[in-house]
C-alpha cells in the first residue's frame, strides 16, 4: 500500500466522521505525516473531489466564517472501505513477517 493511499484512507476516514474544512483537514494530516507537505495533501483532496469521492459546499458549520467544507459521498465511502481492507491486509502481512 502506497503512502498516498494511506493518506487518502486517513482523509476519507476523517470525513466519514464529520464534515471538515480545508485547513482543518490539511493541518490534522500534516501533524500525522509531517514529511508530506500540505500542498500535496490539498492536491489529493482536489483529485478526490474531481473523482467524486468527496463533495464540497460553502458553510459555517462551526459558527465561524463561511468556508468551503468537504463531505464524503457514497462512492467515497466505498473507496474508504476498499482502502481499509487493503490497509488491514498490509498490516497483517507486515505483522506476520515479524516486523514491529
Amino acid at each position: 500500500m502506497l503512502k498516498k493511499d494511506l493518506i487518502a484512507l486517513c482523509l476519507l476516514h476523517l470525513l466519514d466522521q464529520k464534515d471538515q474544512y480545508g485547513y482543518e483537514l490539511l493541518h490534522i494530516l500534516y501533524e500525522g505525516f509531517p514529511d508530506t507537505q500540505e500542498s500535496a495533501i490539498y492536491a489529493l483532496l482536489r483529485e478526490m473531489c474531481r473523482n467524486g469521492l468527496i463533495q464540497w459546499y460553502k458553510g459555517d458549520v462551526s459558527g465561524g466564517p463561511v468556508r468551503k467544507y468537504y463531505r464524503l459521498t457514497d462512492t467515497g465511502r466505498e473507496k474508504r472501505q476498499r482502502l481499509l481492507e487493503e490497509w488491514r491486509r498490509t498490516r497483517d502481512t507486515v505483522l506476520a513477517l515479524g516486523v514491529e
Partner: protein, 254 residues
C-alpha cells in the same frame, strides 16, 4: 539562502501566476480561492511556513494538470518553434526554403486561430479584453510605418535615388526591427492567451503574419536582383499571406 517563510499575499500572488498558466481560467480561479482560504485560516503573523505548505511553485505543480493543459503545451510549443524559426530566418542568410516557410506560416496561423476560439469558448460573459485593442492597433500602426519605409526605400532604389550601399543595410535593418517587434508581440499574445483570455491569440496571429512577411521580403530581396521581378513576386507572395493573417486575426477576435 533558502527562504523559510513567505508573506501570505506574496505567496498567493506567486501561486496564482503559476496556476493560471497550468489550468483553465475557471479552474485556476477556484484553486486560487481555495488557497486564499487556506492561508487566511492559518493562525500566525501572516507568514507562510514553506516547509509545511510547500513553495508556491511546487504547490501549483502538484495540482494535476488536465488534458487541456497538455494540448495547450503542444500548441504553445509548435507556435513557439515556428516563430523562432521565422526569426532565425531574418538573421540567417541561408534560410531559403520559402515553400517550407509558407507551409509553417499557414499551419501556425490556422492553429493559433483555432486554439483562440477553443480557449475563448464558454467565456461569453467577459466581453471586454483590456489591453488587446491597444496592442493590436499599436502593432498594426508600427507595421504600417515600417511597410511604408520599406516601400519608400524600394522605390528610391528603383529610381536610383539611393546608392546601393545604403539601401541594403537600411532595408534589412528595418525589416529585422519590425520582425523582432512582431516576434515579441506574438509571444506576448501567446502568454496573455493563457493567463488572461483566448482572444489574445489574435495578437499572436498578427505578430506572426508580420514576422513572416518580413522574412518573405528579405528572402526575395536576397534572391533576385531585378527590382521589377522582385515587386511582382512580392505582390503575389505577400498579399496572400497578409490576407490569410488578417482573416486569422478577425477569426480569433470573434
Amino acid at each position: 539562502m533558502v527562504k523559510k517563510t513567505m508573506d501570505r499575499q506574496a505567496y498567493l500572488r506567486y501561486f496564482s501566476k503559476v496556476i493560471r498558466w497550468r489550468l483553465p481560467p475557471d479552474e485556476a480561479a477556484d484553486v486560487t480561492a481555495d488557497y486564499a482560504e487556506l492561508l487566511n485560516a492559518r493562525p500566525g503573523d501572516g507568514q507562510v511556513p514553506l516547509k509545511q505548505l510547500g513553495h508556491p511553485f511546487t504547490a501549483a505543480l502538484r495540482i494535476k494538470s488536465s488534458k487541456e493543459y497538455r494540448c495547450w503545451m503542444a500548441v504553445f510549443s509548435i507556435l513557439a518553434l515556428f516563430s523562432a524559426y521565422f526569426l532565425c530566418g531574418l538573421f540567417n542568410r541561408w534560410w531559403t526554403l520559402r515553400a517550407f516557410n509558407e507551409v509553417l506560416f499557414y499551419l501556425s496561423v490556422g492553429l493559433a486561430a483555432l486554439w483562440s476560439r477553443k480557449s475563448a469558448r464558454g467565456r461569453g460573459e467577459k466581453r471586454s479584453c483590456p489591453g488587446l485593442p491597444a496592442a493590436l492597433l499599436g502593432l498594426l500602426g508600427l507595421g504600417a510605418v515600417f511597410t511604408g519605409v520599406t516601400a519608400a526605400l524600394l522605390h528610391a532604389f528603383s529610381l536610383r535615388l539611393m546608392p546601393g550601399e545604403w539601401y541594403g543595410p537600411v532595408i534589412y535593418s528595418t525589416l529585422r526591427i519590425l520582425g523582432c517587434v512582431s516576434f515579441i508581440a506574438g509571444w506576448a499574445g501567446l502568454v496573455n492567451c493563457r493567463m488572461r483570455d483566448g482572444r489574445w491569440l489574435s495578437l499572436t496571429v498578427l505578430g506572426f503574419t508580420l514576422l513572416f512577411l518580413c522574412l518573405t521580403t528579405v528572402w526575395f530581396l536576397r534572391s533576385l536582383n531585378n527590382i521589377s521581378i522582385v515587386q511582382f513576386w512580392m505582390g503575389r507572395h505577400i498579399v496572400i499571406p497578409a490576407m490569410i493573417g488578417t482573416m486569422g486575426v478577425i477569426w480569433s477576435l470573434c
